[in-house]
Amino acid sequence: MTRPLLEVDALQVRFMTELGPAHAVDGVSFQLDAGEILGLVGESGCGKSVTARAILRLVEPAGAIVGGDVRFEGRSLLGLTPAELRAVRGKQIGMVFQDPVASLNPVLTCGDQLREVLKAHHTCTAAEAQERAIQLLRRVRLPDPERQAGSYPHQLSGGMCQRVALALALAGEPRLLIADEPTTALDVTVQAQLCELLLELQAETGLAILLISHDLGLVAGLAHRVAILYAGRIVEYAPTARIFSAPQHPYTRGLLRALPAIDAEPGVFAAIPGTVPHPAALPAYCRFHARCAERIARCEHEDPVRRAIGPEHDVACHVDLDPAPVAGRPGGGP
């Protein structure tokens, strides 16, 4: 087997808060192969955005990576000098953010911003940069790229801004794209267009994508594999089809049940009771214990360890130690 493109290994990120040190990411491990799309899913505050930022070391200096490793093409990113890190950011790994309008500089035109990135990563003349900028805008299917290159972000819609942000992320021709909630701020129809675009780009160029989202529906449509994150840890990790057909972790099942089905009784929502524990006040036992409907005595004494329960399927839960493993149940499927 070839080496994975990205390896995140027992990553730990700590922030100092009023309540004390908070491990927003606490031992997250996953791998991403070239051309693969991995969905990183969880509620707000579960650590998915921090994980994404920690890969490019964007959590510093507010937070610190205190354990584990991030390797890209076998090389650890944690020991890089600032200059080496800049050569990875944008050139090896691109990133798009949740709020497309706010993540573009309001005083520069889209073309200016693209040329900035192109000049940072390639040696090229002004004319070449201009041509390349328009090519990139065309590649992200921005209508009328010649004209839009001269537009300011506030003159474009949210969907168009996200395409420009995507063009910026792709300007350095990275092999990996980190997309942090790329469609959350967009209309449903625009979301669908952007998803198609991501799939096209992945198919055309073999781009690997780390897709961060709280939207299981979106992840189901795009990702090859899914990692479910809860309170800074991966609680379930499996191929997408398996997550939806045979979810094992009670939290994953809860998330799937919480998806409103079109044929469900109106007014009935299957919310998971409670909230994610504060990362500065995590219990020493299972972190989902307080919200889990299937908890057993062991859950209150012992932290579950992530272990393989099938091919490419990991779960961190005590419950299915039960001799009769729980299969996917009604309402659990997509």
């Binding site: 964007l58 600032p82 950011r89 944008g90 706010a102 573009l104 900035e116």
Partner: protein
């Protein structure tokens, strides 16, 4: 009267145009003083005969104790005031912007040291510092510009630092870091232009403030040396014969008030227009 965001902007645009236009006219008048002034501002008349002539046909604003034409002196005085006002605003804003930019962008120890320096400078009354330096050294126009700049950059540094910190924590700066742009490039192309609005506003306001301080110094006899005409010094000269011979003090006094008012109106209008919270100009997402 309450105005909606659009009304505020329309009003501000009108004020800005009027204020800036009048300031421009006033600056041209000052610049063309050698051509426009009917008399040599320093030429002494026949003592007694030409002293304290009331405003009239030959002297539109009368003459002073030495028979000098007050209108000519007001025009020439505009040169000194506007030059010092603009010079100090430029120099002090550059200094303040540099300090604020470095403090806001670097943070940590550098920020701490620079901001304590600002606190220290603000703790010393500006008038004492200026009077001390100007009192020890011989007052001259360049010295006044330097001293007033050296004691006037702190507010700008604070304003710019606050803007830079806010911008540096914002999403598009994080995105720029994620794209691998070099830090100085981010500072210069992404942070500074977005901090330009508060910088321009504070610089405009500084012109008016500086003119007030400069004329106060001149009133105290610490301004540009005689015989260069200066409004503050003219007000002081007329004080002895006020209100009988009112024009000697009132003419330069009105000039000071009008010039400062124009600067402040322009500054306020700029702030209303450049502050994003004052409303959108339509269009956009």
């Amino acid at each position: 009267m309450t105005l909606g965001p659009a009304g505020v902007r329309r009003h501000a645009r009108w004020t800005l145009r009027t204020g800036a236009a009048l300031l421009a006219v006033w600056s041209v008048v000052a610049l063309l003083a050698p051509v426009l002034a009917p008399y040599d501002p320093t030429a002494l008349g026949t003592l007694g005969a030409d002293s304290y002539r009331a405003p009239g046909r030959t002297h539109p604003l009368g003459t002073d104790e030495f028979g000098r034409d007050v209108w000519s002196r007001v025009i020439w005085g505009a040169r000194v005031s506007l030059l010092i006002g603009a010079g100090v605003a430029l120099l002090a804003s550059t200094l303040g912007a540099a300090v604020g930019l470095v403090a806001g962008a670097r943070g940590g120890k550098v920020d701490g040291i620079l901001m304590r320096a600002v606190d220290l400078m603000l703790a010393i009354p500006r008038a004492y510092l200026v009077l001390l330096v100007v009192g020890i050294l011989r007052p001259s126009l360049p010295l006044l510009v330097i001293v007033l700049s050296a004691t006037g950059w702190m507010q700008t540094a604070r304003v710019v630092r606050a803007a830079v910190r806010e911008i540096a924590a914002g999403p598009y700066v994080e995105a720029a870091h994620a794209l691998g742009l070099p830090p100085w490039r981010i500072l210069w192309r992404h942070i500074l232009p977005n901090a330009a609005a508060p910088l321009v506003v504070s610089a405009t306001a500084m012109v008016g403030q500086t003119i007030l301080v400069e004329n106060a110094l001149a009133f105290l006899g610490m301004g540009v040396p005689v015989p260069t005409p200066s409004w503050g010094a003219m007000v002081e000269e007329g004080r002895k014969v006020f209100p009988g011979v009112w024009w000697v003090s009132v003419a330069p006094g009105v000039a000071i008030a009008c010039t400062v008012l124009l600067c402040n109106l322009t500054g306020d209008a700029l702030r209303d227009l450049l502050d994003p919270r004052a409303g959108e100009s339509g269009g956009g997402a």
